[in-house]
Structure formats: structure tokens, C-alpha cells
């Protein structure tokens, strides 16, 4: 046993060196720490960036965007540990996974568990190459936290499905090629009347209208389905089994939202510049300093918690603590965004133009956007309900 563990560790170390070398040879240095090209970035910007296209092609060819998927699905068939190593090595060079998307984070893992072979072969390779962008058509005006009260109708027309209704807050719907949606196939039951459907956004009868966010971006939309024809084969799992699939998908979503992101740049040097230092070289506002320290310590403890829980779980799948982790992470990162804006003072209040630097404007917009972290993917309150009920065994 011990010998096995040790030999695995040696293999991991070898793999790390291999990954490091390959990434060094293929990751375009010009893309280091370019946040705009992350998965929520604009499609046009990504398409117009030759470095990004090269990088995407390299990762697609290697299957490292989804390292754990089988190669017939566009992955590299690697172990979880190896996948993690790739992520760590990428982070170390300020890199990012160009394939990371709702497809890789949410739909892919779900299809792997619930899709039939035809569906997997039809969609997974395109997710793995980031050629098909997906959006998540779950929320509706009357169905947010209470997702199961959704009403978008899906009628069996014999040779196809007919979908009618409205979705809202659909991130990236205006840039997406496909949508994984929850639809109602039975109105007599709440949870038991929902199905999971894959819808081609190019289908007739779909309209996506962008909504402007407080951060100024328009990355979410309201989406209208007017008698949209969907092929029979696009239903994942069984009819009326959608809720089970959705719950699993939401676990994947929360898991990815609470994932350890790139190691965040420390705020202290910035604070030294913006706020100044006292005679001992400390940030020149004891109050701000104390709050920054507290946030940084919580962040460090959070990273240790993620590692500990991952070790304890060992199986690699999403665990019970995911709701707790998601709330901790969103709280820490929201507070961090605020501290950043606060330390920038009046320079953190700019919207556009001079004299605000790119970094300052970006910090301000990120602060506004960060307010969504405790809303989407299951709100803070609903995560706490889940923790109370499922982890702590409280009744209700």
C-alpha cells in the first residue's frame, strides 16, 4: 500500500515536470494574466485574438482542456490528480484554461453521467474544443431559488418536442450555440414533471435579449421560446427525470464556483502604493489593514480547507461541503473586491475614461460583478438552507 502511494507520487512528480515543459512551450506569454479572455469573456474578442486561437488549438489537440475525459470525447484520459497538476502549473505561469466554459464545467460532466453514447459523441468533442458554447436555461421570472416551479412548456408532438416559455438571467445566451434547458413535460407534478433538454440556439422561434448588469456588462439575457421545434433525441435521460439531472448539474456548478481559482495577487503591495505606509512600513490605515489581514487569512484558510476536504473525500466528486465552500468563497472574494476598491479610494469610483487606469476600472467593475457570486449558482441563503438540512441534519 505504502509503496503504491509512493510510486504514484513519483509518477505525479514526473507528470508535473512534463506538464510544466509542455505549457512553457505552448502557452503564449502575451496571454499571461489576461482576464478578459476567461470563459465569460466576449466571443468576438477571443476570436480576434490570434494568441488565444493558437492556445485553444494547442490545448484542444492535447485534450488538456478537459484532461479527465476519455479521448473519444476530446479529453486526454488522465487521472484526477494529473488534471489538478495541469491546473496548478497553469496557474503558476499566469495562464488559464481556454476551454473552460459552461460546457466543461456543467454540461459535460452531466452528459458523461446521464447522456447516451450518441449525445456524448455529438456534443462532448465540441465542448472539448470550445467550438460550441453553451448556456444554462434554468431560471425563469417566477422560478429562481425555487427552480422547480418553472413553467416553460415542452409538448410531445410525436416526431419532435415543441417548447414554449421564457427563461431569464441566462448568461451568455446571446453568444451561445446551444442551451441546456429545464422544461416542463408534466404539469401535474412539480419536481417530477421536469425534463432536461438540449436546444440548438439557432432553432426558429428563439429570441435572446441581453440585459445590462450593474457592472455594465451585458452577459445575461432573457430568452424567449416561441413554439421551438426540438428533435426527439435531444432529451437527456428519461422524460420527467430532469430534476435529478439538474440537481447533479447544480452540484457540478457549485463545485466549479467554489474551485480554487488562480492564486490571487496579494493586495498588500497595492495598499502600500495607494494608502501609504507608516514609519514601520505598515499600511498606513490600521483599520483598513486589520480588515485586509482578516480577509487574507480567511482566504488562506479557505484554500487549506479546500485541500483538506478534497483529501478527505478522495473520490474526487462533489462533496457535501460544497454549499459551505461556495458561501465561504463568495464571501471572501466579495470582501476582497471591496477592500481593493476601498484602498483605491476615489480612484476606485471611476466608471470610464481618465484619470482612472485600466486596473482601477477593472477593479471597480469586478467589485460590482462580484455581488452576483452570492446570488447565482444557488444564492447564499439557499446554500445555507442546504447546509442546515443536509449537512447539519436540521429539520425543515
Amino acid at each position: 500500500m505504502r509503496a503504491m502511494v509512493e510510486s504514484a507520487a513519483i509518477e505525479d512528480q514526473d507528470f508535473r515536470l512534463e506538464a510544466r515543459a509542455w505549457l512553457a512551450a505552448h502557452f503564449p506569454p502575451a496571454l499571461a494574466n489576461v482576464p478578459g479572455l476567461l470563459f465569460q469573456g466576449s466571443r468576438a474578442a477571443a476570436d480576434a485574438n490570434p494568441d488565444y486561437q493558437l492556445w485553444r488549438a494547442a490545448m484542444t489537440g492535447k485534450g488538456w482542456g478537459v484532461p479527465n475525459w476519455a479521448s473519444r470525447y476530446g479529453g486526454a484520459g488522465l487521472t484526477m490528480a494529473q488534471g489538478k497538476i495541469i491546473g496548478e502549473e497553469l496557474t503558476a505561469i499566469g495562464g488559464f484554461n481556454p476551454i473552460r466554459s459552461y460546457g466543461t464545467m456543467m454540461l459535460g460532466p452531466t452528459l458523461l453521467e446521464y447522456g447516451n453514447e450518441a449525445q456524448k459523441l455529438e456534443h462532448l468533442p465540441f465542448i472539448a474544443s470550445h467550438e460550441r458554447r453553451w448556456c444554462q436555461g434554468f431560471s425563469e421570472p417566477g422560478a429562481g431559488s425555487d427552480l422547480a416551479s418553472l413553467t416553460t412548456r415542452c409538448t410531445d408532438m410525436g416526431d419532435h418536442w415543441l417548447v414554449s416559455g421564457q427563461k431569464i438571467w441566462t448568461s451568455g445566451a446571446d453568444e451561445a450555440d446551444w442551451c441546456f434547458a429545464l422544461v416542463r413535460t408534466d404539469t401535474s407534478r412539480k419536481h417530477g414533471g421536469i425534463s432536461f433538454l438540449l436546444i440548438d440556439m439557432a432553432s426558429e422561434g428563439i429570441e435572446a435579449r441581453p440585459i445590462v448588469l450593474i457592472s455594465g456588462s451585458t452577459h445575461f439575457c432573457e430568452v424567449f421560446f416561441n413554439d421551438v421545434k426540438v428533435p426527439k433525441g435531444n432529451l437527456v435521460g428519461e422524460v420527467n427525470q430532469g430534476w435529478t439531472i439538474a440537481k447533479r448539474l447544480l452540484q457540478f456548478e457549485r463545485n466549479s464556483l467554489s474551485e480554487v481559482k488562480a492564486d490571487i495577487t496579494p493586495l498588500a503591495p497595492l495598499a502600500h502604493d495607494y494608502v501609504g505606509t507608516d514609519a514601520l512600513g505598515r499600511i498606513d490605515s490600521p483599520d483598513l489593514r486589520a480588515r485586509m489581514v482578516r480577509n487574507a487569512m480567511r482566504h488562506e484558510a479557505y484554500l487549506a480547507t479546500v485541500r483538506r476536504i478534497a483529501q478527505e473525500a478522495k473520490n474526487g466528486g462533489p462533496s457535501n461541503g460544497v454549499s459551505t465552500l461556495k458561501n465561504l468563497w463568495s464571501g471572501i472574494i466579495q470582501e476582497r473586491s471591496e477592500l481593493l476598491v476601498e484602498m483605491m479610494g476615489a480612484n476606485g469610483l471611476g466608471w470610464a475614461g481618465e484619470p482612472y487606469s485600466d486596473a482601477e476600472r477593472e477593479a471597480t467593475h469586478a467589485w460590482l460583478h462580484s455581488k452576483a457570486f452570492s446570488i447565482y449558482g444557488g444564492s447564499y441563503e439557499v446554500q445555507n438552507n442546504i447546509t442546515a438540512k443536509h449537512t447539519l441534519g436540521l429539520p425543515g
Binding site: S215, A346, L349, T364, I375
Partner: protein, 379 residues
């Protein structure tokens, strides 16, 4: 709520009605560009609404009778500022009617008062304080210099952000006549008309659409009669500025809370009104408690101005810090409790969040005032 006399109560009700009708949040929204930031041609205020304010006498509430004011007191002006805060009404009332008028009242000689107060009191002159030079409130680090020239002075330096700077006619400019950064004895205040040769201004595109200014002063010449006072006067002004801003923030917090409470009473999820979930009931109850602290602190500070209370500096910092924390939490919870809709530009929550953040930074942040309170109380 402080016990108001009949006139104060009337003023408050009138201001509340007027703000609701004349300057609802939609009026502020009209100053916004797509998604946030101010429209390029907008000045961050509505001149017609300002004229109406002047007509109602608000611009002269703190000005003495002999110069066209009503000498009604800071408590009265605070009530108005609070009501304007509720609807995020954009106006230079704080800069002009409280800060600039106070500057002349407290520091002006007879000639200076006669020259400026009537215009400020009737609203035909908009005044402001030009104090900040960097991202953080740090008046003692003022670098803008005033050098003696003949029997007057020449001013050189930069001010940013200057609240209402693009629309002000008169700036009270904080300058240094001697000493280096950190030395308060070398500070002086000067009355500078914004059309003075050598003074240029640029708008700042800020998240709350209010468009403060950057002032660049290049060899701006002022006469001997421009000198108003030194660091002690500045302290008095900054106390009033902080308290006035705290009053506005109290209104922001109050309305953010009320709007959120309404939503908790109407939005249905899981077959129930979300306000029936205990988690949200407790959150609302906690926020309500915070609001009580904030109101008491702000009102105590306003009263202290009118009573010339020696505790004024401490109370000013208490008000700004306490209400700063309150408005921070409430504006954030306003977004959170509205869920997805709270994240949209179309909804008011984001406008409250943005204004709250700007207000909290003005005239000393929450951290700055906590630190000052600590010093004043020997912590």
C-alpha cells in the same frame, strides 16, 4: 426620530414629497449612460430642480438672515439632505448650502460675507469645497501651494475629486502656504471663482453619474480678500461636510431598506412570500437595528452643530463611520435580497449600491472616521 418642532416637521414632509415627485430615482437614471457612469454631456445635476430648491429656500437654510438666508439651522438642512438621499437626488445642496455657506459664516469677514452669501443663499451662486488631491481623504497632506504675490496670492496645483466642481461658481480651495505634507499649520482656505484665469476643470466619469471635477490651477491669482482661514476652519467645515453627507447616507440607507422590505413582502418563491423565511426576517430585523443606530448618530451630530457642542468633532466622525457601515451593509443586502433582478442596471438596487460607495468615500471614509474617532477618544 429626533423630536422635531412644527416647522422642522413641515420642512421634512415637504422635502420628502418634493424629492419623491420631482427627483425620483428615474431622474437620476436619466443622468446615467449605458449601464453606469455619467452621460458625457450631463453635469450630474438638474438646473431646473436646483432653481426650485432655491425657490423653496433650501439654499439659504444655514445662511444668516441679513444675507438673505433663513438661519433655520443645520438640523433643518440635514432633514432635507436626508430626504434627497432617499431618492438619490443629484444636487449641489450639500456642497453649496451647507459647506460653502458655513465656510463664509464661520470664517468670512463682513466684506466676504456680503460679497458671497446672498448669492449662495438664493442659489444663484453654487459653491463647493476643493480639498482632495489624491484618492484618499488627507487634507493635512495638501500640496497645492499658495505663494504671496503683491498683496494677494498665486495658486498652483491640482484638486481631485472636487464634488460638484463642474457646476460650481465658487470654490473654497485648500492650499498650503508653508510646511510640507502632514503639517496642518501651513494650510489656508481661499475663495476662488471657478472662472478665474488659470483654473481649468475636467469632469470625472464616476460610478454614480455625479461627475465631480478635476481642477488644475496654474498661476491662479487671487486678492488678499480671498483668504478665509486656516486649519481650524477647515476642520469645522469638514465636520459639517461629513455630517451633511451622513444625513444623505441615512436617507439612502432608509430607502434602500424600505424598497427591500417591500420586495420581501411581495416576491414569492417555494409557494411563500420570501419575507416569511426566518433567515430573511432576521436579516431584515438586524438591518432595522443598524438603521436605528445610524439615525441616532446622524441626528446627534446635526444637533451638535446647531448647539455649538464641543463634542462636535467626535460626533461627526461617529455619524460618518456608523452610517457608512450601515449604508454599506444595506445597499449590499438590497442587491442580494433582490436576487437576479438586483444585479440589473434597470433596477434601482445598483444605483443605491454605487451612490452608497461614493458617499462613503467622500469627506473621509468609514475607516478614516473610525481612526479619527479613536484618536479623539484616546484609543
Amino acid at each position: 426620530m429626533a423630536v422635531l418642532n412644527e416647522e422642522q416637521q413641515m420642512l421634512k414632509d415637504m422635502a420628502a414629497d418634493w424629492a419623491r415627485e420631482r427627483m425620483p430615482v428615474t431622474a437620476l437614471r436619466a443622468l446615467y449612460d449605458h449601464g453606469g457612469g455619467g452621460r458625457a454631456e450631463a453635469l450630474g445635476y438638474d438646473p431646473d430642480a436646483w432653481a426650485e430648491m432655491a425657490q423653496m429656500g433650501w439654499t439659504g437654510i444655514v445662511a444668516p438672515l441679513e444675507h438673505g438666508g433663513s438661519d433655520f439651522g443645520c438640523m433643518g438642512l440635514g432633514l432635507v439632505l436626508e430626504q434627497l438621499g432617499r431618492t438619490l437626488a443629484a444636487s449641489p445642496l450639500l456642497s453649496s448650502a451647507l459647506i460653502a455657506v458655513s465656510a463664509l459664516r464661520l470664517g468670512g469677514n463682513a466684506a466676504q460675507q456680503a460679497r458671497w452669501l446672498p448669492g449662495l443663499a438664493d442659489g444663484s451662486v453654487i459653491g463647493t469645497l476643493a480639498v482632495e488631491e489624491g484618492p484618499h481623504h488627507a487634507p493635512e497632506r495638501t500640496a497645492l501651494v499658495a505663494t504671496p504675490a503683491g498683496d494677494g496670492w498665486t495658486l498652483n496645483g491640482i484638486k481631485r475629486p472636487v464634488q460638484d466642481g463642474m457646476i460650481a461658481h465658487l470654490a473654497i480651495v485648500v492650499a498650503r502656504v508653508e510646511g510640507g505634507g502632514g503639517d496642518r499649520d501651513g494650510l489656508r482656505l481661499f475663495l476662488v471663482p471657478t472662472d478665474a484665469p488659470g483654473l481649468t476643470r475636467e469632469p470625472l466619469d464616476q460610478i454614480d453619474a455625479r461627475r465631480p471635477a478635476t481642477f488644475t490651477l496654474t498661476n491662479v491669482a487671487v486678492g488678499a480678500d480671498a483668504l478665509l482661514g486656516g486649519a481650524d476652519l477647515l476642520d469645522q467645515l469638514l465636520d459639517r461636510a461629513a455630517i451633511g453627507m451622513a444625513a444623505e447616507m441615512l436617507g439612502i440607507a432608509d430607502q434602500a431598506f424600505d424598497t427591500t422590505l417591500d420586495y420581501l413582502k411581495t416576491r414569492v418563491q417555494f409557494g411563500a412570500i420570501i419575507g416569511s423565511f426566518q433567515a430573511l426576517q432576521h436579516r431584515a430585523a438586524d438591518l432595522f437595528g443598524e438603521l436605528q443606530l445610524a439615525r441616532s448618530a446622524v441626528e446627534a451630530a446635526l444637533v451638535a452643530i446647531d448647539n455649538d457642542d464641543p463634542a462636535l468633532p467626535r460626533l461627526a466622525s461617529l455619524a460618518k463611520a456608523i452610517v457608512g457601515e450601515t449604508v454599506h451593509v444595506i445597499s449590499q443586502q438590497m442587491v442580494q435580497l433582490h436576487g437576479g433582478i438586483g444585479m440589473t442596471h434597470e433596477h434601482d438596487a445598483g444605483l443605491y449600491l454605487k451612490r452608497a460607495c461614493v458617499a462613503a468615500q467622500c469627506y473621509g471614509s468609514t475607516a478614516w472616521h473610525r481612526e479619527r474617532w479613536a484618536r479623539l477618544n484616546r484609543y
